[in-house]
Symmetry: none
Subunit: 209 residues, 4 copies
DNA sequence: TGGTAATCGAGACGGTACGTCCCGTCTTAAG
DNA sequence: CTTAAGACGGGACGTACCGTCTCGATTACCA
């Protein structure tokens, strides 16, 4: 990347790197994360297995990189002028991402694997949850700036509520985020945000735990 | 030989059946779904591998049965007298289920596997989603009967919103459904239910799809 | 067998016994000794596996009985009037036995198994070697009685030489005892018998061991 | 990539190859052909099972190679100056081979297996029968060159007669080729060779088939 | 411009688990 | 009490991948 990086000794083959990522994305998309074999990726990429193990410590690391490449940097960038519009826009883009690319399959395989691998879980939080929360936070911030809502104090929860609903739909529902679903989810998020603003911390509940 | 020489039904060994389920639950709990080996289950249960394969076609089928046994039939039975109380009660019971038993690990491994196995996905919807929705539906029904809310038309969505949030928290959050989280989720569900009742189908949106 | 045996308590089912032997002979004939499975015999005989294990300790014991039934009691009975004729007649009958029945396959599987099972080896000597030697002995005795030869002192060796040659031909040769082979073997036996008679113990060899 | 990118030949590990053969010989010697398990060979050789299956299609192929290594190239090489001496020498060497090494056990297991496997039978003829016949042929040839006998026309039959007798003795006899047996077998071969020379094709027999 | 050291493809290696086959024993219901 | 049926615990099979390890051959920096 930087100027000095040109001289770096680990002279990684660009073509192999790209071929591995492409093969991994293709196979994970066609067969699912669980049926994605390093041997098959290597064969399809025309690459030695060692070349994969040299640059990625395991399947999860490789597929995290694949996942990262599949998510466009601007998933949540659209400013439609209203909170509902921004959320709808985000939903539509996510819908496309999960419907048209292996991103969904990969992400879910990774999450499953992370259940028995805390390091991977941490990486996933960094790679997936944090960016998603920051997207939602900035959407809510824009809405607050517009005066649509008061600045909420539970943006992370709202983001997770949103993400959880999307997952559930993709994993066990119809696998598409249809118009009906989007309307309902946007409504739920809106009223949750407003409710939090309106009531604040209810004075009659003791906050422990 | 004789007329009544009807094929006797397969006579399954109760002790083996139970031993396999117990061993599977234990191993899945300790090592996670992905590291649960049929061979280990058989060895720990003191059973031949064939005995497992005779009664369950694959690991997923076995673990679905294990999961079913772990979920108490009354997860959502409590009638606390208020909608918020019922939801809170359900959350606490789920929290215990996922914290104290392998149910969470197993469920999530199954979901991951279901991404590449549509038959398993169908089974999971029957085993998990449908019962959960029916619990939430009856909670909302009780609330409507009490006059707390109008009868909602989106109980399935509300159930999925609720379930999705719980998952997200368990899978990528702190792995516990703490008081703060529970309060926020109950609030979100409450306002979502009321919002649906209040606004109904917004007249300015065309309802297609 | 005897009259009193009718009342014996182990009421063995004649039909099962026969069916098992028939099925074993059939399967051993079609697939070879090594591919003869107890399970298949039981299934083909319409018999429970336990019924086989109740009456025969193992596959070898069962197939020894099968072998015994396949060998007609008169393989070597013919008296053609000459030593060469008797030997030729025996060869022709053996040829038929091994060509038309599974006897050869079974015998050879048994011998192979006997290499690691001394008890089976002993049984085989009783079942196979001893009868064969006695046949050859009586053929040679008849020849001596006729005055064709002097009474030989090496009938067992001659029998084994004869049997060994037949085996070798069947196992690794063309699997048929053709006219050419028969002529050569009869000649070899004749001259071996006469040579032993003629020279007796050669005076210039010390007989030790 | 380049023109000369010829497929590199499979690079077989010498140490694994040798270790497998050694382990197979040891186990077959101790337990017999029938009780020789691929898994045990692999374990004892410190080798993965796949490494065995990569280079040998089945147990028989592996043990044929083992057998080949056990037979010294000079079993029949000795020129003692007389036909009887050469045969005696061959018998003594064979006796040692079968008494001191697993060669006998292995050979016989292979022969048994070959009864239901024609390809293996063919291999065995190439590996065992043909070399043995050529040894006997050269012994007889030397005797003819010395003028001891006329050049025989039935060397293959003589070889098989000889081999068959040895087998029979080893398989169902006392398992040792003692002095008495050797004397008798050498006598039988001598008179068979001379008889063939002396009588030629007996004129009174029609030679068909 | 040629030397050389890391990377490359290929794939053999020691392993682990798979799902299947068959062993010999045990259990059940029918006769 | 025997039988047919077949489930049982067990052990070996031959296969699929794992992640590591050799091999030459290739490549791109540096002398």
């Amino acid at each position: 990347m930087s100027i000095a990086a040109v001289a770096s000794p680990p002279r990684r083959s660009v073509r192999s790197h790209e071929a591995v990522l492409a093969a991994a994305a293709d196979i994970a998309g066609r067969r699912g994360y669980g049926n994605t074999r390093i041997e098959d990726i290597a064969a399809q990429a025309g690459v030695g297995k060692q070349t994969i193990y040299r640059w990625w410590p395991n399947r999860a690391a490789l597929l995290i990189e694949v996942y990262g490449r599949l998510v466009p940097p601007d998933v949540g960038a659209a400013d439609t002028g209203s909170l509902a519009g921004d959320l709808e826009s985000l939903l539509i883009r996510l819908s496309a991402l999960y419907a048209d690319t292996p991103a969904g399959n990969i992400l879910f395989g990774l999450i499953a694997e992370a259940q028995a691998d805390t390091e991977l879980a941490r990486q996933l939080r960094d790679t997936y949850v944090a960016p998603r929360r920051s997207i939602v936070r900035s959407i809510l911030q824009r809405a607050a700036d517009r005066g649509e809502i008061d600045p909420p104090d539970n943006t992370d929860f709202v983001s997770d509520l949103f993400s959880g609903a999307v997952w559930f739909q993709l994993l066990l529902g119809t696998r598409s985020l249809d118009r009906e679903f989007r309307r309902r989810l946007v409504d739920a998020v809106l009223c949750t945000v407003r409710s939090a603003c309106r009531v604040g911390q209810p004075p009659d509940r003791k906050k422990r735990t």
